[in-house]
Structure formats: structure tokens, C-alpha cells
């Protein structure tokens, strides 16, 4: 296709889109009068456009309309805020842990009441760990026997207790 053909193709497209200026439209019509091939292209372009208009938009099947209208019942819009959402539960649960962690990491000398409170929190935490450890031991024990149970649950708790002891020594 040479440059003139390309220009004519663009003019035909612009003509169909109603974007061809008056002067260019007149020029195209005049050229088509002398060029049967160009005239044929313009006619075919119009015929194609006419067919496209006739096709139009197809009506959606009734089954689809039914499915689309059911969407609001089946898909509740996402709640903007809910205390029951997992991320909020996790965030709330993290708050006391963060407070304990911060209080233990404070470089300044804590007050006596803060130390007492932190120790109490830790004691509660270890009591829980002990219970969890015993439970885990029983579970492991029932599955693989005593030795493995001590090796897994016991070593974790012993390790944590020794770290706690070290931190107390450092405080002293």
C-alpha cells in the first residue's frame, strides 16, 4: 500500500466516524468520482458500518439477568470496620504483648510498680507456657514416647526460662 492509499484509508475511516472535515470530504468525493477502486472502498465501508449498526447490542439472556440481580443477596458488600475481622482481632491481641515487650526493652530504670507488673505478666505467661508444654508433652508422648516429648516441649520451655533468668540477672 502506497502513501496515497494509506491516506485514503484514513480519510474513509474519518468519514465513517464523522470526523472528516468538509473540505476533505469534498476532496474525497471528487477523487472517488475518478477512481472506481476508491469509490468501491467507500461504498464497502458504508455497508460495513450499516451492518455493524444493524447488529447492535444483543439482549442478555433471562438466566443472566436473574444471576446479576441475585448478586446483592449473595455478595454482601465488604464491611468497612468490624471488630470480628481477623486482622482487628490480631491487632487487639498484639497490644498487651507490645506493652510487655516495650516495658522489658526500656533502657531507663523502671519504677518498682512497673517491674512488679512486668514480672507478674511474665509469671502468667510462663504459667501458660508450662501448661501448654505439659499438654504438648502428653500429645507427643502419646504419639512417639517420653524421650522425644522432653526433647521438643521441654527444651523450648527450658530455653525460654534461661533467657528470663539471664534478663533478671542483668537487671540486678
Amino acid at each position: 500500500m502506497n502513501r496515497n492509499d494509506e491516506k485514503r484509508e484514513q480519510q474513509i475511516n474519518a468519514l465513517l466516524d464523522g470526523e472528516l472535515g468538509e473540505a476533505d470530504t469534498d476532496e474525497l468525493k471528487s477523487a472517488a468520482g475518478d477512481d472506481r477502486e476508491l469509490a468501491r472502498k467507500i461504498v464497502e465501508a458504508y455497508q460495513l458500518q450499516q451492518l455493524m449498526d444493524d447488529i447492535g447490542v444483543e439482549p442478555a439472556p433471562a438466566s443472566l439477568t436473574k444471576r446479576l440481580n441475585a448478586i446483592p443477596r449473595q455478595h454482601k458488600p465488604a464491611a468497612k470496620f468490624s471488630l470480628l475481622q481477623p486482622r482487628w482481632v490480631m491487632a487487639l491481641a498484639a497490644v498487651p504483648l507490645a506493652i510487655i515487650a516495650v516495658s522489658l526493652m526500656q533502657p531507663d530504670t523502671p519504677s518498682a510498680s512497673e517491674v512488679a507488673r512486668a514480672r507478674q505478666d511474665l509469671a502468667v505467661a510462663f504459667a501458660y507456657l508450662d501448661k501448654a508444654g505439659q499438654f504438648t508433652s502428653r500429645e507427643i508422648n502419646s504419639t512417639v514416647g517420653n524421650t522425644m516429648s522432653d526433647a521438643v516441649a521441654g527444651s523450648v520451655i527450658r530455653n525460654m526460662k534461661s533467657q528470663y533468668k539471664n534478663s533478671k540477672e542483668k537487671e540486678a
Binding site: 460495513l48 447488529i55 439472556p61 440481580n69 448478586i71 455478595h75 458488600p77
Partner: protein
């Protein structure tokens, strides 16, 4: 909220469905794709600009259809370098009432993005700007691609015209 959504269903379901059908060439899958797009509209109704619901929905519908085509692993569909544009078998001397059906098949035979361009611009008659936004193409790309697609269809039409 639901009333507004139902209004959107009424206004845009036919367009979304037609686009999906042209792209997927399968009525059942087109229904599924249209439903997926409307579920997204329902879930994002507060985020979508009410003035731009139609182009938003068409874009989501098309993207959903293209994802489905990819899942079909129909690699030939995604050679966007040029269009194949072959409609099965010569159909010489079609009557005018058959030309519409022929044209639908011819449009379905175009490659992406030509097929979506023809449907959105020439069948649905969206503006060039909207089509460019929906297909994430520049305005000049839309014009060039559409020009190619129309020329291809025109040449096919010339072969089957009575």
C-alpha cells in the same frame, strides 16, 4: 445502594454480555464472565466513579474474558502482532439477512485487541476516548488498530457480498 446497582444491571448488562460473547465465543462462559464483572462492580460500587461505570464495567468484563482465554491456553488468541481474521469457509452470495450473522462471526474471528475495538467502538459506539481507557491504549493506537480491523472486515465482506 441495591437500587443503584439494579439500575446498572438494567443499563449495562446487554453491552457487557455482548462484549463477553464476542470475545469468548461461548454463551455459557460469557454469562459467567459477565456475572464476575458485575460481582466486582457490586463489591467496588463505592470506589467506581458513577459517571464512569460503563467504561469501568466494560474494561473489567474484557479483562475477565481475556483471563479466561489465557486459562484456556489458547496461545494463538494472544498473538497481538497482527490479526488472523479468517472466517471459516467462503460464503459467496449471502443474502442480506445472513450478512449480519456472517459479520458477527467475522468479528469473532479477529484477534485481540481488534475484536474488542470493533465491538466497543463500532457495535457499542463508545467514544474513542472511552475505548482507549477501557483497552489501556493510546488514542492514536486505537485509531490505527481500528483502521486495520475495519479494513480487514471490509475486505472479507467484499468476498462474500452477493
Amino acid at each position: 445502594m441495591s437500587k443503584r446497582y439494579r439500575q446498572w444491571v438494567k443499563q449495562y448488562q446487554n453491552q457487557a454480555w455482548t462484549l463477553a460473547r464476542y470475545i469468548l465465543k461461548d454463551a455459557q462462559e460469557a454469562e459467567d464472565a459477565t456475572q464476575d464483572a458485575f460481582v466486582k462492580l457490586w463489591n467496588n460500587q463505592d470506589k467506581v466513579d458513577p459517571e464512569r461505570v460503563r467504561p469501568w464495567l466494560m474494561k473489567v468484563t474484557r479483562n475477565g474474558c481475556l483471563d479466561r482465554l489465557r486459562r484456556r491456553r489458547d496461545n494463538v488468541e494472544f498473538d497481538e502482532s497482527y490479526m488472523a481474521g479468517e472466517v471459516s469457509g467462503p460464503m459467496q452470495g449471502l443474502a442480506s439477512n445472513e450478512l449480519g450473522a456472517w459479520l458477527q462471526r467475522a468479528i469473532q474471528g479477529l484477534k485481540e485487541p481488534y475484536r474488542s475495538l470493533v465491538v466497543l467502538r463500532d457495535v457499542h459506539q463508545h467514544s474513542y476516548e472511552d475505548v482507549a481507557g477501557m483497552l489501556e491504549l493510546s488514542l492514536s493506537q486505537v485509531k490505527v488498530y481500528l483502521h486495520r480491523a475495519r479494513k480487514e472486515l471490509r475486505e472479507q465482506l467484499a468476498e462474500v457480498r452477493p
